[in-house]
Amino acid sequence: MTEALSHMNPRMSQEAIPNTMEERRSYLAEGHSLKSWLTTTDHKRIAILYLLSITFFFACGGVAAALIRLELLTPAPDLLTNDGYNRAFSLHGIIMVWFFLIPSIPTVFGNFLLPLMIGAKDLAFPRLNLASWYIFMIGGLATLATVVLGGVDTGWTFYTPFSSTYSNGAVFMAITAVFISGFSSILTGINFIVTVHKLRCPGMTWGRLPLFVWAHYATAIIFVLATPVLTVTLVLVALERVVGIGIFDPKLGGDPLLFQHLFWFYSHPAVYIMVLPAMGVVSELITNAAHKQIFGYWFVAGSAIAIAVIGFMVWGHHMFVSGQSPYASAIFSFLSIVVAVPSAIKVYNWTATLHKGDIVIDGPLLYALGFIGLFTVGGLTGLMLTMLPIDVHVTDTYFVVAHFHFIMVGGSVSAFFGALHFWWPKITGRLYNDLWARISAMLIFLGFVATFGPQFVLGYEGMPRRYHIYPAVFQPLNVMSSVGALVLAVGYLFPVLYLLRSLRYGKPAGPNPWGATGLEWTTPSPPPKDNFETVPVVDKQAYCYPVGGRDEQSRPRTQKAKAGE
């Protein structure tokens, strides 16, 4: 009980851990001017730039979400007009998908950790990395310009012919914003793939890569192969809207369904862009919480690649009611069931890793467990949606909304917060109050379930998505959902407070506060500019935790550190 209420993580030393390695200037001390940040090519600083910007966009998307939930408190249109409501949920979707979820874990933690985890000094193309942040920011500012221009009412999916012909919103600006941000994704993807191939330190074979790296490798493949298709699709929509070429207009010989095919060819893999990095984070968090080798390393690593590959073949399950061939629907239904297999492998393997582990219930673990639970619910309801009869029944209802929020918000955002807590000491060099972390993890979990759990029922009973006027019978569940959203908002704001507080009042973290095994924990916190004093040499697999339980110090994975023992 005392352990449960302690504000210290029991795995942490109670004393400030001195940096045993030679004191060197951390990357944060390499310059304090604004210019030193805006012109940096250090992957760690770029990660911080990304962290600040996506936090800003998360808040913007959150404000839109708050408007939606407030409006849905009553069956009548009290707060927003019809047009206003359409603009609120479109903005929420566009910002959250392209300016928070897709860049979130890869550009912040992938950027920060990928070179550290594979023993490199930086990503392969540091200037490209900085360029990707600038491109991202230009795209983000274009999105905000969309709001100034009056917003967009197409939803985040830009379905034709509405977006190309009928919509009276600032569709062109919104499309331009997403178009621009796509190049940022492509550059990040190229950088990650080349880095993993070419910059692994001696001894870091593919079989010794941390699973976080495998997940980001798979994500980068999707970044590179899916994003260009969105780029060209948006170009075609823009041409149709501005010049009226008619490619998606049946009147002119075009095919409106072609848009859906092209769009989902990107956007279904994009769902895996959002969840694969989260799975990589959870693999790290779970192994560290259990202080155990991961169960089935190759299965977890291979399932990331399998998800990336199969994820390209399931886009048609978004189009079951679009009038596509029933044979196509049957095949897409089957393939969508197949893609659930590698996801299930991961969930089983995480559970098996925890089995008989030396578990310490700390903040990061609670976030990871939240991910597993919510992702499983989201995944299983996803399987329901792959079944043609059920899908036809619940298409465009709150059931679908609840399903994908369980994956993206319950899953990916929980993992984002888990990663933030797990690597916060590495990024900032400070320890935070773990009791508060556990409280906020539970708040987020409960708030999330209260928000989106009722939406399954709403959808199953037939409440359609994207309407703000609804029959009074749906009000109680909508009120539950809105109250849940309030709890969720508190849960998201709370970490901001205590994490910022830790910057001033937190104890110094030392190089390895969790006793974890990754290479990133062998260097001081925060790491120096070049990450490692000497090039690390790896002679062990990932996750070689000691068998003696939590009292035994785990050994860092380098020969150099071993020689120093």
Binding site: K121, I186, V194, L199, P228, L239, G246, D255, V535
Partner: protein, 208 residues
Amino acid sequence: MNEVRRLQPQFPTLARQRDADHFGMLIFLSTEVLIFGGIFAALFVLRAQHSAEYARSSTQMHYWLGGINTAVLLTSSAVVALMVEAVKAGAARLAKWLILGAIALGLAFVAIKFTEYALEYRDGVVPLLSPAHLHAGPDTLFMDLYFVATGLHALHVFGGLTLLGSLIWPFGRARRDTSAVFAGNAALYWHLVDVIWIFLYPTLYLAR
């Protein structure tokens, strides 16, 4: 500029850095292939749904000009391949002439392409600008996609010409680039421009 100074700190050796640059370029080219993939998908859908109109529209193309252009672009690709070998061999003078030759052929491609556009304008088959002899519906859509596809391709030709040009001016990379990293990557890009054209030509011109 000696070799050691060109090594960026994140790479252990220059050879590894070269490999990485090359590999990064190849991945970038795969994204370009997918960008054009969307346009090809649109063209194939149009052909599957309106094959008669597609074939009729294709006969409006000046296929002999397109054929000459294919030959011009293929030749330029061969010249660029020779240029990479020349740069590797340290024959900077020869490399310079080969680059100039490739650029001349690239410009010839653009000139022929725009002649073609002008002929189509005269024929009255350009949507919006001179649609005198253009059927509404799929025929117009075919021409729209033709201009989108070849226009985007022409943009890539200009991009490739800029890359090739920067090998001799203003940076003069060809002289120092003894391992042909930049020259090799510029050549790869030029080959991609070529390959895309090889697929565009039959899809648009020969579907008659």
